[in-house]
């Protein structure tokens, strides 16, 4: 079987790896528009923030392709699909026949059609990242247009490099698709403390040499302007081939388009009315498509979305339906703006359907897994938001400890036995150890035994 993959980004490269892992025989050709090896786009903001080097992003070494017998045509753009003959044609005149074709063309950055926008740098690719960093070296002030996930990560990254940053956002609050208004507000305050000034509800009208002009005339100063205004699925290839395209290339639960020999995955695909813009769904789709292509029976049923901001000193996780209010769901909320803390649970039918966690919290792991698994939410909702809150207090004071409490785990010695031993005449740890073997195992109960003996001696002193 001949498999051709168009696109060697996060989705395409993942699919190639998954197919090869499942089937050593199928012939695979992958076309990538970019010349270099595929890289992990999720980590671009870390590069911008100086927390990763570009060479740490590579997903496959070029030697991987040879070792796995995958033909990689990198820097070769597919121009059109001949569905009748089942072949793709590249811009440089190559024709590659296929039995199955996977479109993983991804998406492109949206560049708003405003005057001077060519002065701004979109934030989408490794090359973009490189350009931004070069420009940042001799900039005094930056403006980031777009207060979604990527825009915030870019703004935080630049601020971390010592550049004052203004973040402009059209909607009324930051990350309005993932956060409710209050979370957006708290997030803005947290960012302010890190050198990012946030302006919401503002429309950029033009990009000028000295900054961004807002509708209304105000100039927001900055000699570096970065665009993070969202992405648009790249669907032209599919549309010109006559495949059904709405916002993305329409696929079914097998990730097949309306041509059964053509699949689409990742940010160019639309499944059940949804185009996903995160990597986790793209990889889930790659896994299902690889399974279907190699004869498996897996089906794709949509993805649960967990958004995790990668910006140092800003811990934010948002998942599912975070905007539901008390009329439609059970909502548990804790807000402490002075601390930059905001936590919200959205529960329906005893299941966690949404959550926001802003500020460092151990709850993030538990909540993500509860959301992913769809398991029932425990009755103690507060305990979910504050792990450890409901844990039984440890009675380590010798006074409060019941006689039945085990003091020495290694030798199974209770407080009662130590008391009895003391009553029989032992007045120090060595005496208790000789009689009960307490403290002779791992030794970590030594202080506890000393505490009990000391307390008993004190009591004796008091009563004497």
């Amino acid at each position: 079987m001949r498999l051709v993959v168009v696109g060697n980004g996060m989705a395409g490269s993942r699919l190639v790896g998954e197919v090869r892992a499942r089937d050593p025989r199928v012939s695979i050709t992958v076309f990538g528009a970019e010349h270099g090896r595929p890289y992990n786009r999720v980590l671009l903001s870390n590069v911008l923030a100086g927390k990763a080097r570009p060479e740490q992003l590579g997903l496959h070494d070029l030697s991987w392709y040879a070792a796995n017998r995958v033909e990689a045509a990198l820097g070769s753009e597919v121009a059109w699909i001949d569905r009748e003959a089942r072949a793709v044609h590249t811009a440089d005149g190559r024709r590659e026949p296929y039995d199955l074709l996977v479109l993983a063309t991804g998406s492109e950055a949206i560049v708003p059609p405003i005057p001077g926008v060519e002065r701004a740098i979109p934030f989408r690719t490794l090359d973009d990242c490189d350009r931004i960093l070069k420009a940042a070296e001799h900039s005094r002030r930056a403006v980031v247009v777009g207060g979604g996930l990527l825009g915030i990560e870019a703004a935080r990254g630049l601020a971390g490099r010592g550049l004052p940053v203004t973040l402009l956002h059209l909607a009324g609050h930051l990350m309005e698709r993932q956060l409710d208004a209050e979370a957006g507000l708290v997030l803005g305050e947290t960012l302010a403390g890190l050198g990012v000034e946030t302006r919401t509800g503002v429309l950029a009208e033009s990009v000028e040499e000295t900054g961004v002009r807002l509708a209304g005339g105000e100039l927001v100063e900055g000699d570096l302007v970065v665009l993070a205004c969202g992405v648009r699925p790249l669907t032209a290839l599919a549309a010109e081939a006559g495949l059904e395209v709405r916002r993305g290339v329409v696929v079914d639960d097998e990730l097949r388009t309306d041509d059964p020999s053509i699949f689409a995955i990742g940010e160019c695909a639309e499944h059940d009315g949804t185009v996903y813009g995160l990597v986790a769904p793209a990889w889930e789709q790659a896994s299902v498509a690889a399974d279907v292509i190699t004869g498996g029976k897996t089906r794709y049923r949509g993805s649960r979305l967990v958004t995790r901001l990668k910006a140092s000193s800003v811990e934010l996780a948002a998942m599912g339906e975070t905007q539901l209010t008390d009329e439609h769901a059970e909502v548990v909320r804790f807000s402490h703006r002075a601390q930059g803390t905001y936590r919200k649970l959205v529960i329906r039918d005893d299941r966690l359907v949404g959550a926001i966690l802003l500020g460092d919290s151990d709850a993030v792991g538990t909540l993500t897994q509860l959301f992913d698994r769809g398991g029932p939410v425990p009755g103690d909702r507060a305990g979910l938001l504050f792990p450890g809150l409901s844990a039984a207090p440890v009675a380590d004071s010798p006074v409060l400890m019941p006689d039945a409490a085990k003091v020495c785990q290694c030798n199974n010695v209770t407080k009662g036995q130590i008391r009895a031993c003391w009553e029989a005449g032992a007045r120090d740890v060595a005496g208790v150890a000789a009689a009960t073997r307490a403290t002779t195992g791992c030794g970590t109960c030594r202080d506890a035994v000393a505490g009990i003996v000391g307390w008993l001696c004190e009591q004796e002193g008091v009563s004497a």
Binding site: V42, N46, D360, G365, R373, G375, N412, R437, G441, C442
Partner: protein, 674 residues
């Protein structure tokens, strides 16, 4: 007069002195053995004398349940083995050993299989214990010596990462060596060890590998890699680094449930420590991906420049008493004495020379433990099994199935000290000596060879395993030494030149030096406490990074089986419990099997503390008393495996490299027994 020897239980092999006066046997801790320096012992050690005096001993051979003489029993066994071999070929006889047997026994058992029986079908319960760590160590370092440094080195550590190890419960005196260090504990449960931790990471069961990859990703991203070390002492880092691009911490957080911030704290603590150790235990290893999980932790240790550096390192915490020596001298399916590979022509020639046979007459590699047990009594599988020092009816995964396979045998011969659950199924039961009644060597978790000395006389009617093995060999036409000192002399010659070289070790030296570290190739050699300091025993002298990928548990939870089961040990019991369940104070401490579950889960299932609970997997069901505790995740239950039951549930999915079963995670449902 008191005799210096060692505890009968775990791989720490605490030193103890035994004084026997009449029927009174008393134990005092030795202070000259570093493992339990300061005179430490846990409750199992303190009460071990009861093993000698509790009246539960087998004292005469049984044939189909009836007392017979030794001659009659051994004649019967030899005759039946001969007949089965004649009818079905040499592989019709299986031999199954254990990690509690002395080096001498493990060695002679391998020789019995390869020389007297001519069978390839030998393996041992250490496959269920150390095989993943062993495979990963060999692939990284070229050598598996559990801890390639003395246990006392740990005292100088600033940070110790324990991945899936719970020594506070399983080898308490070991914890004393960790007193000076910040502990980072990776365990789904808040165990006794996790309670001592500076940082406790609680991954979902079966996700340790992802966590290790996330930690390594962070080490690379935050520039914490020891670049000169990686350049000078390792190979393969580039490929591993590329594989890490897919394991960024936020993704790992979603898979494991461990917050990114905690991962970051863990990696930084390890990287900024002057001296640090990464140690793995069964929690990380007993998975169908256990070898890769250990490789991921070794990769982390290598990236931080720990292995082979004085004061730092990677090690695994061996479990069974002779879990280290037991995996070196030939009771493993693919192995010959001295940790040699059975498919290596030079190894075959050397060992055949010591044994006085032709190399081509030695059988090749046989089935691994689970595969061997699962083949018993099947067409093409063994028809007879000789079992030493193991109790698979309790300890094998999917144990009800394995009990059925054992029942299908034409002949089961069990050597044991008590009537274990497996011995109860045997055609022939042979009562043998135990620790304090015999002499031999044990190699502890440090790779230190120790001397077990006879302190009391065995009960009348009991024979040593070596005598039993030699007695069978003699009836099969082979003359084997049966005296421990003589067997050890032969083991020294057989191991000479192999990775685990004991050639320079003698009983006298062990006594004089309180143990000798292998490799020790000649009597003048001081032994090797830290084998990796100068270079690694790989062809180029460098340690190897091995790229690995995480994958989900072999059996994940679903609507029918919505809860994870994980299994493990408790302080008061040991392995299948055959010994400890017969000691009054230990059964008083933990009298019965239990099921630990989170209050939220208990609430949902209307289970209260003390209720009898049934846990069911696709393979079977087990019962236990409910213990409700927030020390466990609400999606997971825990059962100790010292009773029949827990392993009826466990999943025999095997690691592709080590053939380790997935003991530590499977999917179950839980209900109250009405």
């Amino acid at each position: 007069m008191s005799v210096d020897t060692h505890c009968p239980y775990c791989a720490l092999q605490c030193g103890m002195a035994i004084r026997a006066e009449g029927t009174e046997v008393t134990i005092t801790p030795r202070t000259d053995i570093p493992a339990n320096a300061g005179g430490a012992l846990c409750q199992k050690g303190w009460t071990a004398a009861e093993l000698l005096t509790n009246g539960e001993r087998l004292t005469g051979p049984l044939l189909h349940g009836n007392p017979v003489s030794w001659e009659e029993a051994l004649d019967h066994v030899a005759e039946r083995l001969g007949a089965l071999r004649d009818e079905h070929g040499p592989d019709a006889v299986a031999v199954f050993g254990g990690g509690g047997l002395t080096n001498e026994k493990a060695y002679l058992l391998g020789k019995l299989a390869r020389v007297a029986l001519g069978t390839s079908q030998i393996d041992y319960n250490g496959r269920f214990c150390m095989s993943s760590a062993a495979a990963a160590s060999i692939r990284a370092f070229g050598l598996d010596r559990g801890m390639p440094f003395p246990v006392t080195d740990l005292a100088g550590a600033d940070v110790v990462l324990l991945a899936g190890a719970n020594p506070a419960e399983t080898m308490p005196p070991f914890v004393r060596h960790l007193e000076g260090a910040r502990l980072i504990v990776i365990d789904p449960r808040r165990t006794a060890t996790a309670r001592l931790a500076w940082l406790h990471l609680r991954p979902a069961p079966g996700t340790d590998l992802a966590l290790a990859l996330g930690l390594l990703h962070l080490a690379v991203a935050e520039d914490l890699v020891d670049v000169p070390y990686v350049a000078g002492r390792t190979t393969g880092f580039e490929e591993v680094r590329t594989s890490l691009a897919s394991w960024w911490p936020e993704r790992v957080e979603r898979i494991t449930g461990v917050p990114v911030q905690r991962m970051r704290e863990a990696v930084r603590a390890l990287a900024f420590a002057r001296n640090a150790y990464v140690l793995t235990g069964r929690g990380a290893e007993q998975h169908a991906k256990g070898t890769d999980t250990v490789s991921a932790f070794i990769n982390l240790a290598l990236a931080l420049g720990l292995p082979g550096r004085a004061g730092s390192g990677y090690g695994c915490l061996t479990g069974q008493g002779n879990g280290q020596g037991g995996r070196e001298h030939g009771q493993k399916a693919d192995q010959l004495p001295g940790y040699r590979k059975i498919d290596d022509p030079a190894a075959r020639e050397h060992v055949a020379g010591v044994w006085g046979v032709r190399p081509e007459d030695l059988p090749g590699p046989g089935r691994s433990a689970y595969e061997l047990l699962d083949a018993l009594g099947t067409p093409g599988g063994p028809r007879a099994m000789l079992l030493f020092g193991s109790n698979p009816v309790v300890s094998a995964p999917d144990s009800a199935r394995i009990a059925d396979r054992i029942r299908a045998l034409d002949l089961l011969v069990v050597c044991d000290v008590v009537m274990s659950e497996t011995a109860a199924l045997a055609d022939v039961v042979l009562p043998v000596t135990q620790w304090a009644e015999e002499t031999g060597t044990m190699t502890n978790l440090e790779g230190r060879v120790l001397l077990r000395r006879q302190a009391v006389a065995p009960p009348p009617g009991v024979r040593g395993d070596l005598e039993v093995i030699a007695g069978l060999a003699r009836r099969l036409g082979h003359d084997f030494a049966d005296e421990p000192g003589k067997v050890f002399e032969e083991l020294r010659r057989a191991s000479a030149g192999g990775p685990a070289d004991y050639a320079g070790i003698t009983y006298e030296r062990i006594a004089d030096e309180t143990g000798v570290f292998w490799p020790c190739p000649d009597p003048e050699h001081a032994g090797t406490p830290r084998p990796f300091l100068d270079s690694f025993p790989t062809p180029d002298g460098r340690a190897r990074f091995v790229p690995v990928e995480h994958r989900p548990p072999a059996e994940d939870i679903d609507d029918d089986y919505p809860v994870y089961l994980t299994t493990g040990r408790v302080l008061a019991h040991y392995q299948s419990g055959a010994q400890t369940r017969r000691i009054a104070s230990l059964t008083a401490a933990v009298p019965e099997p239990y099921v630990e579950l989170h209050p939220d889960l208990a609430d949902r299932l209307a289970i209260e503390a003390g209720d009898l609970v049934r846990v069911t997997s696709r393979r079977g069901a087990g019962e236990g008393v409910a213990r409700i505790s927030d020390a466990i995740r609400s999606d997971t239950v825990f059962m100790p495996f010292h009773w029949e039951g827990a392993n009826r549930l466990t999943n025999p999915a095997l690691d592709p490299t080590s053939r380790m079963p997935e003991f530590k995670v499977c999917a179950v449902r839980v209900e109250r027994v009405a």
